[in-house]
Subunit: 140 residues, 2 copies
């Protein structure tokens, strides 16, 4: 079911400072700041060539990552995202196997694609996001 | 400086159970158990095609991840590892920029290559490993 690791998300208290460290100290390929009001976050992507690090900062106290930041004021690794080809089939298989999906099922995620989050207690304390990706165009 | 994300490491309380969930529930490409006594861990790699998830279990209470497990008995995301081409040059650049390297400098890591770990307080609560990789053979 799971395909590529799409990204690892790190929640940070100061997005510009974190992006500066990834650019200047680590020499990473750091993108621009994007504001995603419907997700309650500002994000910067660091492109590592094979995958991405997503730096996230809460927009305000109603952000989905606000509770995480209250527990981890200095920031921390927040979730990992795997690509799947069919999110409905993945959900069905996970629920049949006894895993818990957070919320009411797939929503449109930060990349405009359907996503679900799995309960971290079912996966060794790790919050896992599944994102449905467009089928790859296979060269003829 | 940083290149590909080599792996994300997740510390788990029960390696076989965690590997089983990645294989059976998530349908991942899960490898065999490797015991690394010199690193105090047993590991299983999940190959995602573009990178790897490294599941880690402490061998005993003297393991480098024992303190993490005491704080996070259910497990959790432990570190991320970026590839670099020259670890001595990377360390010099990081130290000059004010970042802290853990321990006395590069050691031979779990993959038989030189590694260093950076202080998580310098990178938003995220423990970062740098691993020196062999230079790629460029096709003529």
């Amino acid at each position: 079911m799971i395909g590529r690791l799409n990204h690892i998300a790190i929640a940070v208290p100061d997005l510009e400072a974190a992006a500066g460290r990834y650019r200047d100290l680590l020499g990473g390929h750091v993108g621009d700041v994007h504001i995603l009001p419907e997700h309650g976050v500002r994000v910067v992507f660091v492109d590592t060539g094979n995958t991405k690090v997503e730096l996230l900062q809460a927009l305000d106290d109603s952000s989905p990552i606000a509770a995480f930041m209250a527990r981890n004021p200095g920031g921390g690794m927040h979730h990992i995202c795997f690509e799947v080809s069919n999110i409905a089939a993945s959900m069905e298989q996970l629920l049949a196997g006894g895993a818990r999906v957070l919320g009411d099922g797939p929503k449109i995620g930060a990349h405009g694609r359907p996503v679900v989050f799995l309960h971290p207690k079912d996966f060794d304390g790790t919050l896992i996001e599944l994102e449905e990706v467009e089928p790859e165009l296979t060269p003829a």
